[in-house]
């Protein structure tokens, strides 16, 4: 918590620095003005909301029907890193950004650093909502800054282990509960003709989730600058662990999210997947032949008896600084992400797992899931959600950090270099990127 508090002050300094550098002289200092001016507008307002959540219109329709004076218009685009974030930045520059935007937690700091987000800390309704959200998600949107809120948490991706219960029991292997057991099981699975899992060469945020669980903290700040530590001892431990499995050829390494990858799960080749809650749908759709054969267990632990989980994904509903109606925008964002009707619809239409504490108790998330042999799998994730450490901070240039690390990971799985090499290189280039954007960073 303290670490992120410090990180926040750095973010603020760098944001001001950037604002000072950029030509728009009139917006410096308006950050504080926006915070205090979080007052309801008079008369009817129309808000625009850009998001790539599928069928969001259906959810918004419910709101629009009930709130004739606050009408929300949905706009869309490709997934954030595929273009929508860049569009947001362009629109902020041109002054025609939407009122609300869908921003994943790992992208939120980059918008904060560019001073693109409205501070909702001055909206009484937002400040009051704090206790409704799972602690770590709230930290993602406040960056630990006292009295400031830069978005409303929307969904979370607590991680657990999906595994093929049928194959494990047939081979007489107990489902692993620690990473040591997982590695031992990997040998036996290989002997039985499969792979314990597929190591993803491009889902760096999945790897971040694994490091998150192990205590790795990639970004932090002291009083006035960023520290990048993608090779801290805990992250190294995770990297060495997977490197070992790769070297021994105990994991497959096909590119993820391809038909080939689906096929590995569909044809009994891959036995487990340590993934986020939304992965439940990925397996069910990608590997339909395996219906009824999967189960979900907590993530393997680094020490027996520990209870720690990682997180992969999750996003917020942020209000852009250029919005003329931050109060109404905040009102809508809170309804969207805390009300039972909206959360139920979001889960049903878009498979989002709520970031609120109460959200875990939605009727839809209490039921047994047919694909998983009627196991109430969301109970496992609800538990995991409470075990995610709250002090993981994302850096302000994750898009390029991911790209760099992914290049190294791709090389590592084909035998050129190691995962640690990849992380070392990604760290160096991340520092370079921060410097080139005039964001203070420790060498």
């Amino acid at each position: 918590m303290r670490a992120s508090l410090r990180s926040a002050s750095v973010l603020l300094t760098s944001a001001l620095l950037l604002a000072a550098c950029s030509s728009g002289s009139d917006d410096s200092g308006s950050g504080t003005a926006a915070a205090s001016s979080c007052k309801p507008s008079s008369g009817p307002v129309t808000l625009t909301y850009t998001s790539w959540i599928p069928d969001l219109e259906e959810v918004v329709k419910v709101w629009n029907a009930k709130n004739p004076n606050i009408q929300v218009k949905v706009q869309t685009g490709p997934n954030g890193n595929s273009g929508t974030y860049q569009n947001f930045f362009n629109q902020l520059k041109a002054g025609n950004a939407p009122d609300l935007g869908h921003i994943e937690y790992d992208a939120l700091p980059s918008f904060r650093v560019q001073d693109g987000l409205a501070d909702l800390g001055g909206c009484d309704i937002v400040a009051k909502a704090k206790d409704q959200f799972v602690d770590w998600t709230w930290n993602q949107v406040t960056f630990g800054e006292e009295g400031k809120v830069f978005g409303v948490p929307q969904d979370a991706g607590p991680m657990a282990m999906f595994y093929r219960a049928d194959l494990f029991s047939k081979a007489g292997i107990a489902p692993p509960t620690t990473w040591d057991e997982y590695a031992a099981a990997a040998e036996k699975v290989k002997a039985a003709g499969g792979y314990i899992t597929n190591f993803s060469q491009s889902d760096i945020n999945q790897f971040a989730g694994l490091a998150w669980q192990a205590g790795g903290r990639w970004f932090a700040n002291d009083s006035n600058q960023w520290t990048v530590s993608m090779t801290d001892p805990n992250t190294k431990k995770v990297a060495d662990y997977w490197q070992n499995l790769i070297d021994k050829k105990l994991v497959s390494t096909v590119p993820p999210w391809t038909p080939e990858w689906d096929n590995a799960y569909n044809t009994d080749k891959s036995w487990t997947w340590v993934s986020a809650v939304w992965g439940a749908n990925s397996i069910a759709t990608g590997a339909p032949k395996t219906a009824g054969k999967w189960k979900v267990a907590p993530m393997p632990q680094w020490a027996a008896g520990e209870k720690k989980a990682g997180n992969w994904g999750g996003s917020s509903t942020a209000v852009f600084k250029t919005s003329k109606h931050p109060y109404e925008a905040a009102q809508f964002a809170l309804w969207l992400n805390t009300s039972e009707e909206a959360l139920t619809l979001l889960n049903e239409k878009a498979n989002l797992y709520p970031a609120t504490k109460a959200g875990a108790a939605l009727p839809a998330l209490k039921k047994g899931v047919k694909f998983y042999g009627d196991q109430p799998i969301y109970d496992v994730f609800a538990q995991a959600s409470t075990e995610v450490a709250p002090d993981f901070t994302w850096g302000p240039t994750m898009t390029s950090t991911y790209a760099n690390a992914s290049d190294g990971f791709k090389a590592a799985v084909s035998g050129k270099g190691t995962l640690v090499d990849a992380l070392t290189a990604a760290q160096a280039s991340t520092i370079q990127t921060l410097k080139s954007q005039a964001i203070p960073v420790k060498e």
């Binding site: 706009q75 362009n90 002054g95 689906d262 990925s282 032949k289 498979n351």
Partner: protein, 286 residues
């Protein structure tokens, strides 16, 4: 075609080698399309579970229906938009390019060469480099996220002007224009009734070039548009494809959508390839 005076007998060996190379190239270029076609005919389960280059149960009809019904038929809307953006811009752009190139070729006026050189300089600027400046310009007049924000920039075609000038110089004789003038035809009328006909092969080439260029200019709509109803099909499919991580159901739709979206291009090329080839030849020689 009369038989050539000297008959060169090719050796069997070189003929075979040429055939093999052509064959390999053909296969290389056709396999992705074949895969697309086969993939489109499979049900969602079979895309991953069966041989990727051979058919399983033939479900093309059902897949197409699902695609057309998804989100109230937004795919059809995208196809229509694409045709409007590309077809409309290519038609109008060809007309403007033809008029401009013709004027530069046939009329002497001060600054003619400067004008032509500036246009020629425009050929060197890639369309994608202009997307962001155009976005900022359109933002100034609050014109982003409209049909016009994609359509208007697409109409501009400096390469077409270049081609039209070259072709007009070569294929429209001064004497003919002189004769038309003597017969009392105005300049505009001469252009449409005489010159356009003579320039026709070049115009088809310009049209095709621009059609393809606009179709491929993906960045402009990506930057300009945020209303799904205005998307061209390329951007729409790209959006879906960028979401398959969260919504794996979309993958099948993207495959069928890709197949349907290339169909108009394939048809256009099959019908117009004759002009296309002669146009490229003309551009290359002159």
């Amino acid at each position: 075609m009369s038989a050539p005076a000297i008959k060169v007998r090719e050796s069997i060996l070189s003929r075979t080698a040429a055939m093999i190379i052509m064959g390999v190239c053909t296969v290389y270029f056709l396999v992705p399309i074949w895969w697309l076609f086969v993939g489109s005919s499979k049900s969602r389960e079979q895309i991953t579970g069966t041989n990727p280059i051979w058919f399983a149960d033939f479900n093309l009809g059902a897949n197409v229906r699902e695609l057309l019904e998804y989100r109230d038929g937004v795919f059809l809307r995208w196809m229509f938009n694409s045709l409007l953006y590309t077809g409309g811009a290519a038609l109008l752009g060809t007309l403007l390019a033809a008029m401009c190139g013709y004027a530069i070729a046939k009329y002497r006026f001060p600054g003619r060469e400067t004008l032509f050189n500036v246009v020629l300089g425009g050929v060197l600027v890639p369309a994608s480099a202009l997307a962001l400046p155009l976005f900022l310009l359109f933002s100034k007049v609050e014109g982003t996220n409209t049909f016009w924000s994609v359509f208007l920039p697409s109409v501009v075609n400096p390469f077409g002007v270049y081609l039209a000038r070259i072709y007009a110089t070569a294929s429209v004789p001064e004497e003919l224009l002189e004769a038309a003038r003597l017969d009392g035809s105005g300049e505009v009328r001469s252009f449409f009734t005489v010159s356009v006909r003579l320039m026709f092969p070049a115009l088809v080439t310009i049209f095709l070039f621009q059609f393809v260029a606009v179709w491929n200019n993906f960045l402009l709509p990506l930057v300009m548009l945020s209303d799904e109803r205005l998307f061209p099909v390329t951007l729409g499919l790209y959006s879906w494809n960028s979401q398959v991580t969260g919504i794996p159901e979309l993958r099948g739709l993207v495959i069928v959508g890709a197949l349907l979206s290339i169909t108009p291009l394939v048809v256009a090329f099959l019908f117009l390839q004759r002009y296309w080839r002669s146009g490229i030849g003309a551009g290359a020689v002159k």
